[in-house]
């Protein structure tokens, strides 16, 4: 999503419900949509959303794992199992 489009969105947005509807109409790519929601949330200063029906709850759940930039919040953990040098294999 281009920056000027985001600015335009920001003008049109009154609340998050409107924003979700607007984004739905503009974007068929949900990944972009959620990224845009994340960015718009940070621009609007919104930290939590309270949407009504189940579909919107799903969106709320999705947003809860995203940060304000639309990135997934989390880290990776590395686990190494039974390391053996090549010379020891087949022994």
């Amino acid at each position: 999503m281009m920056n000027d489009e985001l600015i335009l969105l920001k003008r049109e947005i009154k609340d998050l419900n409107t924003m979700v509807k607007l984004l739905r109409n503009r974007n068929k790519d949900l990944e972009l949509e959620f990224k845009a929601i994340g960015i718009a949330m940070s621009q609007l200063g919104v930290t939590e959303i309270n949407l009504l029906n189940d579909t919107k709850n799903m969106i709320r759940d999705k947003i809860s794992v995203l940060d304000s930039q639309g990135r997934v919040k989390g880290r990776v953990d590395v686990h190494r199992y039974n390391l053996v040098p090549a010379t020891e294999l087949n022994s």
Binding site: E33, V78, T87
Partner: protein, 407 residues
């Protein structure tokens, strides 16, 4: 599971592709999902006498002496689940040499399992009830991983072992698979035709898993392939899978960045036996939580697995030189199964947990594993992978010395 009797001869394409023949007046054991599929296409008149499987026909094996007896074993899951079963087939034959194993699985996996060295007779699922009647014992593993609370804390081999009532040593908990000469020749012919560089480091990539929930995001693969080409310039990267993977894998193959380094073996792959042969030739496998890793374990190939919905420990714990990279986000591990995307997924259905893998970390692990397997020199390592290698050798030799002293 239900038992249904067919009212006429017909063929049905399971999953829309794989043809299964059904015979008039024969009874079959099938899942309710498959029944619904068949009814939706052919109507309710295709079956009569629908009844539950637990009607005295199913005689679960509970560790009895199998010498001179028949055991019918079947599983409706993917290739990974079948891999977990294979060491137990070997053990049954070791314990009870005169037993007869009748094995059933999906048509798509029959090329591997029908010729398995410990399978005496093969049948397709849905299982014809005649096979049940002619067997002394049965094992079907329904719900062993799906809807099983233990599946979130026990390794898959242990879950299957409990069901089999058979105990294996830890080192035995790896798939038992072999490569046929014909399939190996087919793979080598492919290499001869397309791989021009001498003695490349062969890295296999298994892009797709059997569930969209566990599929790694395509952008992770794109970044990872770029990084492999940069850090392991002598690598030949083989995309392993089936021709059905074109939609995803094609996105990598057409990218000019990878020309000359990436080889779409999946495009000419005729079945799982070709995949098994290809993986047996790799120096390292990278994949999501999928059968590619388990097949690699059968041939002691180092591997890096990318995990989200399930912890890597539950799948890789017993494999040698296995690295599991576990996504750790708010909702994972969720232990979700099935063919529907999870709630926390994007438009293409990729779970959020399968998007956040840091390519730098994956590359460090790849280089580290290649190094301890004598494929790349220490000079080719990144600082992090060199640190890993030094720490590994220090610990390894210290343990070795301790063992010698104790002797």
């Amino acid at each position: 599971m239900k038992i249904v009797t067919s009212t006429r001869d017909y063929n049905f394409a399971i999953g829309g592709l794989l043809i299964r023949e059904f015979k008039k007046n024969h009874s079959y054991i099938m899942s309710e999902i498959l029944m619904e599929d068949i009814v939706s296409v052919g109507g309710k008149t295709l079956f009569t006498a629908v009844r539950d499987l637990d009607s005295g026909l199913y005689k679960k094996y509970n560790g009895e002496n199998l010498d001179g007896k028949n055991i019918l074993i079947w599983r409706t899951g993917g290739m990974g689940d079948l891999c977990f079963i294979t060491p137990y087939l070997k053990k049954i034959k070791e314990l009870y040499p005169t037993s007869k194993i009748i094995f059933g699985c999906g048509v798509q996996y029959s090329d591997v399992l029908s010729k398995h060295q410990y399978v005496d007779e093969f049948c397709h699922i849905p299982i014809d009830v005649e096979y049940m009647k002619n067997s002394d014992f049965h094992l079907m593993f329904e719900g062993i991983i799906e809807n099983n609370p233990d599946a979130s804390s026990k390794n898959a081999y242990d879950l299957f072992g409990e069901y089999f009532c058979i105990t294996l040593q830890d080192h035995e908990k790896v798939p038992n698979l072999t490569v046929e000469k014909e399939n190996l020749d087919y793979f080598k012919e492919y290499e001869k035709k397309f791989i021009s560089r001498p003695n490349p480091i062969k890295i296999g990539i298994h892009l797709k898993t059997s569930s969209v929930v566990r599929d790694v995001h395509i952008d992770v693969w794109k970044k990872l392939l770029k990084a492999i080409i940069r850090y392991v310039p002598e690598a030949a990267i083989y995309i392993i899978g089936s021709q059905d993977d074109e939609e995803l894998a094609g996105q990598l193959v057409i990218t000019s960045d990878f020309t000359g380094a990436i080889f779409p073996f999946y495009r000419i792959c005729r079945g799982f036996r070709d995949s098994v042969a290809a993986i047996s030739e790799m120096d390292l496998m990278v994949g999501g939580d999928s059968s590619g890793l388990h097949i690699a374990a059968a041939f002691q190939k180092p591997m890096v697995g990318l995990f989200g919905p399930f912890k890597s420990e539950l799948r890789l714990k017993y494999y040698q030189n296995a690295v599991g990279i576990d996504s750790n986000i708010k909702c994972s591990p969720c232990y979700l199964h099935g063919n529907q995307p999870c709630d926390n997924s994007n438009m293409t259905g990729t779970s959020f947990c399968m998007m956040i893998f840091e390519v730098e970390k994956i590359i460090d692990e790849i280089l580290f594993l290649l190094h301890i397997n004598k494929k790349v020199p220490i000079g080719a390592l990144t600082p992090k992978s060199a640190t890993l290698a030094l720490a590994f050798y220090k610990e390894y030799f210290a343990n070795k010395e301790n063992k010698q002293e104790n002797k």
